[in-house]
């Protein structure tokens, strides 16, 4: 028996789920309630906000968190079913970094040895991401590898080159999967498959779940992947009582695995009660009317004068730079009127440096802050982390990867040198083949100053001394941090960055111990990953509260940030940018082919591609609109930042320019 709360964004569905959880937890204890939320951040926020005087274990998970726990607990049974014997006490769970590392190793190897993906220019790590996406999407949609193969080939049609790439993709994916399972290394796709094949339909396991839980609560049911929906169905079948929240306009993660159509089909017919939540706490009827209009206009693909009292103004310029200045000025005007900074959001499909820099500059000048939710700094861009890495590259004599500018910035920090002097030194070091030079011989001692020279000599001697010790990468990182960097009074961000580097390499080594490659190979590949930006600095800022500021985010980031409930004013930027209509298909992966819809048509053509893009755009815009309480500004420029004319169709439908 289950109840569904149905409503739009801002209608109070999550609040209902929270209230229900607290009521049930107070009655039967928190252990008896299994709650699924859609992101790790939502889980952590829900736990923090809980107002229970006493509670026990909190069974609040993302779907992946849950299967992670269940596989670990029941591993002896899973392994026995899988291979007939127990080989390990527990499996090793790989995160994205380690899966990418392993897959890109295979891509690299097959490319070199067998000339795979001959005309695809993407780097191994970019191809690896697509192959991992294929495996994930198939597993999330409960499809086995045979079905994955069938769908991949049917997507290729008669195109021989694409068929060849599909076969090559399959070769590598199968090798990857075989290796993972042999050494009990579980990435997301293998974990989901292992769970579904060995636990989910086992009657004894279902009994365990039945005895353990009484209630099943799910927020954002429409975003739950089909494998998660299957789990929910099984839990209902064994007798759990359910309370689910469903947003009919919340399908914006459709091609990241969510399947709102299937969710509706699976759960609506059998619901004991469907409670429509008609009130809206973040928006009014104006929002609903505008949402309906937008849906209609985008569907019909016709230019239209959508009018809405929510549209406050249009900011239109020839050049993007001018438009950004006008937007920033308008934001500042609102702030000066007393609107709180976190009640204003600026949303664009592409958060580039020009955009964030321009806005930040003007806001800071006026005493306000910008909170960039899309900040995805590479770890290597943080000065202390860069210095750590540069010293390691000198330590292992792999300095070819270091650029002069990186070295200059590193020296600037390590020797407390101004940019000009550090550049002089970096240039000389680069000229001598990236070897630490003798300052005397290079005649640099007076040029860079005696204090910096002393520090340089100390650093050079320190590195020489360490070379005699043959330290593992994480021990070396620790030594650098302790003995070289810590005395330089690092900021908290610097400390976090170093910590992240040291922790990530330690975890990485822990996971890849089973990869059976030499330590040296690991270190080198790992360093490449840092340089390629695979290792982002973003996770290190977890736990730190964002400073309240004007929100800058892409639509997806905005909608997937649980802390962003509703806002007063929304600025929708770059509406003639074609980035609003990005295709979901890449060279080697197309999320659509793994959906139920593909099963019915099995044909991929431009019209379908366009329809999917439009549906996605419609979902994004409608969900955004429901977050707005007071008004929307639309902003656009004739040319983009590169000076090219913008030709995306959205401006015609919203008709900003009235042309």
């Amino acid at each position: 028996m289950y109840t569904i709360y149905q409503g739009n964004t801002g209608s109070g569905k999550t609040t209902r789920i929270k209230k229900k959880y607290q009521q049930l937890a107070a009655e039967v204890g928190s252990e008896k309630i299994l709650l699924f939320l859609n992101s790790a951040r939502a889980v952590s926020k829900f736990r923090e906000d809980l107002a229970l005087n006493r509670s026990g274990n909190l069974s609040i998970f993302t779907y992946f968190g849950f299967i992670n726990q269940e596989l670990n607990r029941n591993w002896p049974a899973v392994e026995k079913k899988y291979s007939g014997q127990q080989q390990t006490i527990e499996p090793t769970f790989m995160n994205i970094e380690t899966s990418h590392f392993l897959m890109s190793n295979y891509v690299d190897r097959y490319r070199k040895a067998k000339s795979y993906f001959l005309n695809i220019k993407a780097r191994p790590v970019q191809i690896a991401v697509q192959l991992i996406d294929n495996l994930n999407l198939a597993a999330f949609n409960l499809l086995d590898l045979e079905e994955l193969k069938t769908r991949l080939f049917s997507w290729c049609g008669d195109d021989e080159e694409r068929q060849e790439y599909a076969q090559q993709s399959l070769d590598i994916m199968l090798t990857f999967r075989k290796f993972c399972l042999k050494y009990r290394l579980l990435d997301y796709s293998a974990a989901v498959t292992m769970f579904n094949d060995n636990l989910l339909f086992d009657s004894k396991y279902q009994n365990l779940l039945k005895n353990k839980y009484q209630y099943l609560l799910i927020d954002d049911l429409e975003k739950l992947i089909p494998a998660g929906q299957k789990l929910a169905i099984q839990l209902l079948k064994v007798g759990l009582e359910g309370y689910f929240a469903f947003n009919q306009n919340g399908g914006f993660n459709r091609f990241f695995g969510g399947d709102p159509a299937a969710a509706k089909q699976n759960f609506f017919p059998g619901a004991a009660e469907i409670i429509e939540l008609k009130n809206n706490y973040t928006s009014s009827s104006l929002n609903s009317e505008l949402a309906v209009d937008i849906k209609k206009v985008i569907k019909n693909r016709k230019a239209n004068f959508i009018t809405s009292k929510l549209f406050i103004a249009e900011i239109d310029s020839e050049l993007r730079g001018e438009m950004l200045i006008k937007v920033a000025q308008q934001v500042v005007a609102l702030l000066k009127k007393g609107v709180k900074s976190d009640q204003i959001a600026i949303v664009s499909p592409q958060i580039d440096k020009v955009l964030s820099f321009s806005l930040e500059k003007i806001l800071t000048k006026n005493g306000y802050q910008l909170s960039n939710f899309n900040r995805s700094k590479r770890l290597i861009d943080i000065p202390f982390a860069r210095a750590l890495l540069i010293l390691y590259l000198f330590y292992v004599d792999k300095t070819a990867a270091i650029g002069v500018s990186s070295l200059q910035q590193g020296l600037s920090l390590l020797l407390d040198l101004d940019p000009l002097r550090s550049y002089l030194l970096a240039r000389e070091i680069a000229a001598s083949g990236m070897r630490l030079i003798d300052l005397e011989q290079a005649n640099l001692r007076t040029k860079i100053g005696f204090a910096a020279s002393e520090k340089y000599d100390y650093l050079k001697d320190w590195l020489l001394e360490k070379k005699t010790e043959e330290l593992a990468i994480q021990i070396f990182f620790q030594a650098v941090f302790s003995e070289v960097l810590a005395p330089l009074t690092p900021s908290q961000e610097d400390i976090f960055a170093c910590r992240q580097m040291i922790e990530s390499v330690a975890r990485f080594q822990q996971t890849v111990e089973n990869f059976h490659v030499s330590d040296q190979d690991l270190s080198e590949r790992y360093l490449n990953m840092i340089y390629e930006g695979t290792l982002a600095a973003e996770t290190i800022f977890k736990g730190q509260t964002k400073e309240p500021g004007v929100i800058l985010a892409s639509p997806y980031k905005f909608l997937f940030s649980p802390e962003l409930k509703g806002i007063e004013y929304l600025f929708i930027l770059d509406i003639s940018s074609s980035d609003w209509l990005q295709s979901i298909a890449k060279e080697l992966v197309n999320p659509y082919i793994y959906t139920e819809q593909w099963q019915q048509n099995q044909a991929w053509h431009d019209q379908l591609d366009q329809e999917i893009r439009l549906n996605q755009l419609s979902d994004f815009l409608i969900s955004l609109i429901y977050k707005v309480k007071s008004g929307i500004y639309l902003a656009d420029s004739f040319f983009n930042s590169s000076g090219r004319e913008q030709e995306g169709p959205l401006y015609r439908w919203l008709n900003v320019r009235r042309d």
Partner: protein, 265 residues
Amino acid sequence: MAVSELKELYFSQSSLAIFQSCQKKFYYRYLAGLYWPAEWGMNEEIRQDLKLGQQFHLLAQRYYQPTLEETTLVSKQPLQAWLNRLKRFCSAVDIIAAEQELRLREAEFKLLAKYDLLKYDSSQARIIIYDWKTDKKDFKQKDIKSSMQTRFYLYLMVKAGYKYFAQDYKLETMPCLIYWNPRYPGQPVSLKYDKKSFEQDQTFFEELLKEILTSSEFPLTEDINKCRFCEYRPICRGKRSEAIEVFEEDLDLNLDWESVEEFEF
């Protein structure tokens, strides 16, 4: 665990012990979020011991909690021997829960403990708390009776647990806490609790929490000896740590997909 404000923090026995030991360390670890994996700086032998400790806790959890299949440990010594000793020492009857968390939320503060095993003692109508240790030191070398863990575990059980479990169990006498180490199977330490100790602990914890919650500065300890074994020594003292003290809450080294923001749902 890192929170921006003290009032949001769930205090554990480790966080309280760390505050008492060095306020700066408390600040770095719980407020600034500067948390380092426990195995850092450890030699291979200690790392292996830590891994054994983790695996033993996992096996104990599987033994006491219903799972589908028992773990087979052929040729996995000493884990096999430890698990056999555990089964002999404490059978899987009268189990309330294994790896049980307990949270208490008061107006001013929040407390959290994770118990290895809780059993119900129907003869005395009380809860018995079990805690597994796997380090090489035996209990004689530790001041375990007055440790922060002992006081916190018992206090929180009475304060929150006895009400939380009241629906399912008749609880009339004070809980007891048993420490046991599979390396020293014949030397369990059993600690009783009484009303007077509870009242003393209540005053102690309330005062300690008040001190923490009204702190605005978190000074570095003056005891340099403590710094020798602290992971923050490089930052505070500019020197490498000689070794690092390991806290139980650090032992969960496995990658937890809930702790990383990678995939939605």
